[in-house]
Each structure stands twice: as structure tokens, then as C-alpha cells.
Amino acid sequence: MRGLSELTKTSIKLYIREPIATFFTLAFPTMLILIFGAMYGNDPSPIFGGLGSMDVSMPAYSALILGTIGLLSVPITTAGYREQGIFRRFRATPMRPLTYIASDLITNLAMTILGMALLFTVGWLLYRVQFEGNILLLLFAVVLSGLAMSSMGYLIASVASGARVAQVIGMVIFYPMMFLSGAGMPIEFLPPSLQRVSDFLPLTYVARLLRGLWFGEPFVDHLFEVAVLAGILIVFGAAAARTFRWE
């Protein structure tokens, strides 16, 4: 346990020291609020069922953070640690591999929550956005989504030969999702044909689940999203566990 807590403490420090990762997780979503807030404001709009553009951006950008961490941070870090021989050094100790994975997941969850807190703080200060759901249900959704996205990320790391390839694969998968899933911009802005494409993108289910729970819709209305994310976690998690390489 001491290994897990020390490793997690260290990973969080290292994450924060990494300027690119910190920018995309913490600064970028907040920056989007500033930019799009200045463009669209937060007036209630019929497109969003009476909510403002900034209101719906809160859960959307939370999904964006989950996608960035799971599909970019996880594969780049994992493949990089393997490529640089950092995993080799860890393996030459009694630490269990599962301890590393657990610490990585906790670190990423902590960074997600930190990013969301920052996002909400800025949204509240500038546009008085509200959270109308149940915080525990939201936390559940964040954990499930984080695990699902990370399982995809670990699989990307296994498939990639090194950190650079992992980054490219991660970006190829992530960027279309960013625009088409409702995480980067409201799904309502897309033409109906592209909205249909979103049904095939994993991040869409994260965005839908978070948006529903953020605005206090009943949990039972979102069992489908929960099931899809659980399915992704099981399928990709099993594939990642099977293909995971320490060197």
C-alpha cells in the first residue's frame, strides 16, 4: 500500500510538471470557456432546451478532459515509459504491475477531477453555471468513463511501437471524436447525418452520460450509455490486459 500511495503521489507531481499534459487537461478546457463564452455568451437558448451555451459546455468539456487523458495521456505515457525502460526499472523491484496500473488510474482520475473543478470554477465565476445533478452519480459516471477511455488508451499503447506512434494513433482516434461526439462542441451544431456518426464514437456516450447526469436527468434514462461504456471497458480492458507489454 505504501508503494501505491508513494507511486500515486509521485505520478501526480510528474503529471503537473509535464507542461503539455497539464495544458490539455487543465488549461485548454478552461480556455475554451473563455473563447466560446466571449463568442456565444450563456443566454438561455431553445437549441439547448432553455440552457445556455456555457451550461452545456460544462459536462461537454468534462468529457473532453476524460477523452484527452484516456486517449492521449495514457497511451503516450504508457508507451513512453515502456520505450524509455522506465517499466524495466520498476519491474526490477518487488512492486506488482497492478500497483502501477492502479496508481496510473488514480492519478488520471485525480487530474480529471482537478480539471473539472477548474472548469466549473471559471464557468461559475464568469457565467454562474450551475450543477443540477447528484454529485455521487456524476462521480460514478466520471470513474466509469475514465476507466473506459483509459482501457482504450492502454490498448493503443500496446499496439504502438513507441510514444510517438502512440501519440499519432491517439490523435487520429481522439480528434474526430472531439468534434463529432459533443465533447468539443455541442452535438446540436452538427447536421443530422454527422449526428448519426456520433452514435459510433465511444466519447459520445461519455458526453451524453455526463450531460444527462449534470442536469439531473434520472439515472435510469442513461442506462444505455452506462452499458456501452461498461462494454467498452470490458472489451478493451481485456484486450489491453492481454497485450500489455512491460518492455
Binding site: 500511495s5 525502460g85 522506465i86 518487488p94
Partner: protein, 304 residues
Amino acid sequence: MAPVLEVTDLVKCYGDLRAVDEVTFTVDEGEIFGMVGPNGAGKTTTIECLEGLRQPDGGRVSVYEKDPYEERRTVMERIGIQLQESDLPSRLRVREALNLFASFYAESVDPEILLERMGLQEKAKSPVTKLSGGQKQRLFIALALINRPEVVFLDELTTGLDPQARRSMWDLVREIRDQGSTVFLTTHYMEEAERLCDRVAIMDHGQLVALDSPRALICDLGIERRVSFYPLNGSKDLGLEALPGVEFVERRQDRVIVSGSGKGFISKVINALEDNGIDFHDLRTEQPNLEDVFLSLTGRAVRE
């Protein structure tokens, strides 16, 4: 007392290549045991089988009578490892690295003590990437010692270090042994093995070609010694060929090289030169070394 490390008929293959081919040896407590040979001889594969990082394809390895691959975590608690190729996260700082690795073991040394012992106190807050080659190696040794290991594995510890840093590493290795650990190291520097190790295993093409103390290996060779000098009397006959023990005399440009063996060979040559009234300067003697042992056993020089 049972040996600390036992390797019996170890075989490890990569595809068609038998990287380690039926190697057998034991290492006793308190030894500095060296494995030498050129790159690709199978040293790293052998050490990594002992460390439990690779699974042997045949034969058996044991550390304190335990299989290091099957009982990895138990064995890892008792051994310290410095890997030839490994790294730490670039933004990790020296003290953080020690604290982190200390947390992986049931028992560990106070990281501050190791920082001091390795001369890294001033670098405690430096990121790993800001360290020099020698400092980084000292950090990796500190990590290998963090659990007060009974056996320390050092794989190519001094590769890439300058001569001064290398010498200070040798002192460090002796110190580790003097504090009670058994040391298993690999190197492709013959001089390092000769100076540092109690016993040396010479590897070539995955096989163990010799195993003994450096002194015994050199003596067993019965190899000649050499004396060389510049004679000042021009090309006058030196009258050395007839001397007992002299095997042959050759001239390279102006330099005369006398090869031979036997007790008192060098003083015989010098006395004969004085008796014959031959003045000389820049007299040098060459002792055979492990390099010559390797050459005579394999027919090749160890350097690629």
C-alpha cells in the same frame, strides 16, 4: 554454506540464437563475481535470468535456493539491481526517486544516508535528466542499494563513464562488498574485471569458456611476458636469443621486443643487456592480462 547464486545448464534462446548455451557456475557469499566478454556474449541475458527478469528456456537458476522468476517478489526483496538499459521519468528528482523506490520494499535504507554515501546530496532536488553520466549511475546504484540487498547485480556499470568516474565506481563496488553484500557484475572491460573481481567468468558466444580468479586465469595461460626498449648502439647484435626463457626477439622499427616466460625473465634480460654493454632507453615491460587470456581462449580480441 550453500552458494548464493546457482546457475545450472542455463539455456536462453532468442529465435534461432542460443544467447546462453548451457552455462553452469555458482557464486559464493561475499564475492565480487565478474562476467566478462564482448557484447553479445550472453552476459546480460545471464544476469537477467538471475534477476528474474527473463525466464530460462532450459536449465535452472537460483538465488538463495529460490527460482527468481517463479518467486519474483520474494527474491526481489533480497536483491538489488542496476540495469544496463533502463531509465526514470525525466522530471523525477533524485530524492523523489529514492523515496519512491524505498516504498516498493518491505524494508529500506534511509534515502538520506544513500544520498550522502553516493555524493548526491547537492543533486537531491535535480531532475534525473540534469545529472551527468556518473551521477546518474550513482543514482542507479543508490536505487539498487535502497533495500539493503544481500546480492547486488551490476550490469555494465561503468560503460560510457570517463576513467576517473570508472575508478570511483570501482571503489564503490568494493565498499558495497565490504558492507556485506555479494556482488555480481558484468563488464566488457577486461581491466575492470581484473582489478575488481575475486573471480571472473569469461563468456563467449553464449558459453562459459573459463572461470577462476584473474590471477589464476593469467598464470594458467603460461603466456610470455614482454620487455621492449630502444637500444642506443644501433643494430649491433644484442645476444639475447640464447638467453634461457627467451622465446623470440623482434624489431619493430627501432624498438626491440623480447618475449619470453619463466621466473626472473625480465631481470635476466636487463642483466644480459648490461653484461653485453648495450645502452638502452624507454624500457617497458608488459605483463599478460585478462585481455591476453581472452585472446588465447577465443582467438579474438575482446574489442569489436
